[in-house]
């Protein structure tokens, strides 16, 4: 047990009044953590904790006066004194674990080295849209030269018609496909996914409504109602970061594969701005000009897979995000309304959430909010 007495707060005064406790009995605190706000005749001052440990007793309530030198807090701690161990400065301490993962002494010795080419050859290949792995190298030390690239261009123009072989070739996955394989495997290893499905009734939606924009806005509203799904979760340290901003990743398909550009601060964008961003991203993805920084930082994702085909799905979450909403193909159905059979229009929704970080209640309420927003849209 260790008692911390109220230190001289530097005003030369004999006492101070407790304005506000920042901690409770039973809390475990760190060295330097602010404990309480004390008011003297002249100023309000935060008092940091000199020890690390569990607080067993607070010696006073808000608005009580404590004399300098009188007991302020009792700690339960085995340490005699919290040794801050320094002579200058302040070292950052934490209960963090240093996770080395798989450390390899020396190099990884995996994959064969990449292609060797003269820098000029690379530039040329890029300009001519030539895949260097197809080019025959004739330069010194097995290098591809600029001439090699030029020769390849001439030959390929000649040989376009002569490939009649039907034997398939194994190809190493590259670029976006490769990333997809790795990312999906990692997600499978770490995430605990649960998918809830539901249909949203779009019958009363005004014609020519921009459904994608409406869904984006519905996600923003649902994120406000249930921020637990607008969160990043670190499974190793068991920490999560809940966001106020809503950065929606928009799954966009292309011939190269799936890209997920991010609509930053969707909560602050107007309908036009959202539509504009969606269109721009569709263009830049297909032209492969989307910037790397635009592919980062999504707090939640939307996948409109139904544009093509499919009703319900179990879309996959990519950590550190914890939720993804999938919209299936809208269709007309026969539905009961006020005891009558009517033709209505529904869109199937599939919400996958990471059950390590999100509860069933939070997820269902999120989905409920999305549906309620869409069904009441004007």
């Amino acid at each position: 047990m260790k008692i911390f007495h109220l230190p001289d707060l530097g005003e030369g005064l004999a006492e101070a009044e407790i304005r506000e406790w920042y901690v409770n009995e039973g809390d475990v605190v760190k060295v330097d953590q602010p404990l309480v706000s004390m008011e003297t005749a002249k100023a309000v001052v935060d008092v940091p904790s000199p020890y690390a440990g569990k607080i067993t007793q607070l010696h006073g309530k808000a608005n009580e006066i404590i004399k300098t030198g009188a007991p302020l807090i009792t700690y339960e701690t085995d340490e005699v004194v919290a040794d801050k161990g320094s002579v200058v400065g302040k070292l950052e301490t934490s209960e963090k674990k240093w996770d080395d993962g798989d450390v390899i002494i020396g190099g990884t010795k995996t994959r064969a080295p990449a292609i060797k080419a003269m820098p000029a050859a690379r530039v040329l290949a890029q300009q001519l849209n030539v895949d260097l792995s197809q080019v025959t190298a004739t330069g010194p030390q097995g290098l591809i030269t600029a001439d090699d690239v030029k020769r390849f261009m001439e030959n390929s123009n000649e040989n376009k018609s002569s490939s009649t072989q039907l034997t398939g070739q194994t190809e190493a996955l590259r670029g976006v496909r490769r990333v997809m394989a790795q990312t999906m495997a990692q997600s499978h290893r770490e995430v605990v996914p649960v998918t809830i499905v539901e249909d949203v009734d779009l019958t009363d939606l005004p014609p020519k409504s921009d459904i994608t924009v409406l869904v984006l806005k519905a996600i923003v509203a649902a994120a406000k109602a249930e921020p637990a799904l607008n969160t990043w979760f670190d499974g190793k340290s068991l920490e999560r970061k809940v966001f106020d901003e809503v950065h929606i990743g928009l799954a966009v398909d292309s011939t190269e594969g799936l890209f997920v550009p991010v609509i930053k601060n969707a909560e602050a964008k107007s309908d036009q701005e959202l539509r504009q961003m969606v269109d721009e991203y569709k263009k830049s993805v297909s032209a492969r000009t989307v910037a790397a920084k635009d592919l980062q930082g999504a707090t939640i994702t939307l996948s409109n897979f139904g544009m093509i085909a499919g009703r319900y799905a179990t879309p996959i979450i990519v950590p550190p995000a914890v939720a993804i909403l999938g919209c299936g193909r809208s269709r007309d159905v026969v539905m009961p309304r006020n005891g009558q059979m009517v033709i209505g229009r529904i869109m199937p929704l599939s919400l996958t959430f990471d059950h390590r970080a999100v509860t069933g209640g939070e997820a269902t309420r999120f989905l409920g909010t999305v549906i309620q927003q869409l069904q009441s849209a004007k």
Partner: protein, 358 residues
């Protein structure tokens, strides 16, 4: 066999532990009430500021800070003794001296608060020196420049007793002796170099006697007796200024706080030692003398404490209100004029600035 040399190291005390003037105290001391009151007031201000600085550090508003508690007589006495045109070369505990030489209280805080502008003194004095003892050589160099230009000035170099183990300090003393430099070396012997006691630092019986090896005189002074501190320093500066005679003054006092606010002396300091030594502390000692001489009273003390509190508060307010320097200032004083090749890096900082400081 014949003895070719003996040496003597005098010890000076003019105001003893009972606050009485000793027999060899100079006559005029008893009559110099202005100086005594000035010394007292300054010591109290220094202690008030020092206590506040520690509290600021404890509440996260100041970086690591080295207290001068218990050592006020040394720094204040030396500061009072220095002539305006003399040059002072501090180490890092010298607030009590710098205060009397044009440095503002808020500037002291600024330095320990992590802002280089804390070194912008309104004087010719040297800035703090953190690498121990290295500044004593600068002081010797400055003393040479003074001599070369035939200026009527002295240089005073201050450091702790730990510094006297550094080669630099002996090198500075050696050259001062052989080149007859107008310099006074003052050692604030507060008995501790972080955790290493004075006894473990050197086998020399006194620090003062190290001057003998450099060819000049050294004396030991009761560092809790501000009257002796001030008088002997005036004497030494006079000898340096007028006759080019260097001298070493060892002020014996006690470190009444941890080495810095980040140190924990309970790990190595014998229990009760501070309490024991506190009986000799300089402010109480002078106060008793002033009261016994009818120059001070409880009422005056109250007024002084209030005045000091106000001055310190103003200094803290000023310190806390200063905006941090713009990030590009990292480059502004690297050279007289920044070579072009560094301009791109400087520009990089401008972008960070917008994010950092808006």
């Amino acid at each position: 066999m014949k003895i070719i040399d003996r040496f003597e190291v005098p010890y000076y005390q003019y105001l003893n532990e009972e606050s009485q003037l000793t027999d060899d105290a100079p006559q005029q001391v008893a009559k110099d009430s202005n100086t005594l009151l000035n010394l007292y007031r300054t010591m109290v201000l220094v202690r008030t500021m020092d206590t506040k600085a520690v509290a600021l550090q404890r509440t996260g508003k100041l970086g690591t800070y080295p207290s001068t508690r218990g050592q006020e007589a040394v720094f204040v006495g030396v500061g009072n003794a220095l002539a305006k045109e003399d040059i002072f070369v501090p180490y890092y505990r010298d607030m009590g001296t710098l205060l009397q030489r044009g440095v503002k209280l808020s500037q002291i805080l600024q330095y320990w608060g992590g802002d280089e502008r804390g070194n912008c003194y309104n004087s010719e004095d040297f800035p703090y020196s953190v690498p121990i003892g290295s500044q004593s050589l600068h002081a010797a160099g400055a003393a040479y420049a003074v001599k070369f230009r035939k200026e009527n000035r002295a240089v005073l170099s201050m450091f702790g007793e730990g510094a006297t183990s550094q080669g630099d300090v002996y090198e500075a003393m050696n050259v001062a002796g052989i080149w007859k430099l107008p310099i006074v070396f003052v050692v604030c012997n507060n008995q501790w170099a972080i955790s290493v006691s004075r006894q473990a630092q050197t086998a020399a019986h006194s620090i003062a006697q190290k001057a003998i090896a450099a060819g000049f005189s050294g004396e030991q002074i009761d560092g809790n007796d501000i009257i002796a501190v001030q008088h002997r320093t005036v004497e030494a500066l006079h000898a340096a200024r007028e006759k080019g005679e260097p001298r070493l003054l060892e002020m014996v006092c006690y470190r009444q706080h941890d080495h810095t606010t980040a140190d924990d002396a309970s790990r190595y300091e014998p229990k009760n030692m501070r309490e024991q030594e506190w009986k000799k502390e300089p402010i109480a000692r002078l106060r008793r003398y002033l009261e016994q001489s009818g120059l001070w009273s409880e009422k005056e003390e109250e007024i002084l404490q209030a005045e000091c509190a106000v001055k310190v508060d103003e200094a803290v307010k000023e310190y806390l209100s200063v905006e941090p320097q713009p990030l590009e200032s990292m480059f502004d004083y690297l050279y007289a004029s920044l070579p072009d090749i560094y301009k791109t890096q400087r520009d990089m900082l401008k972008d960070v600035e917008i994010v950092a400081h808006g």
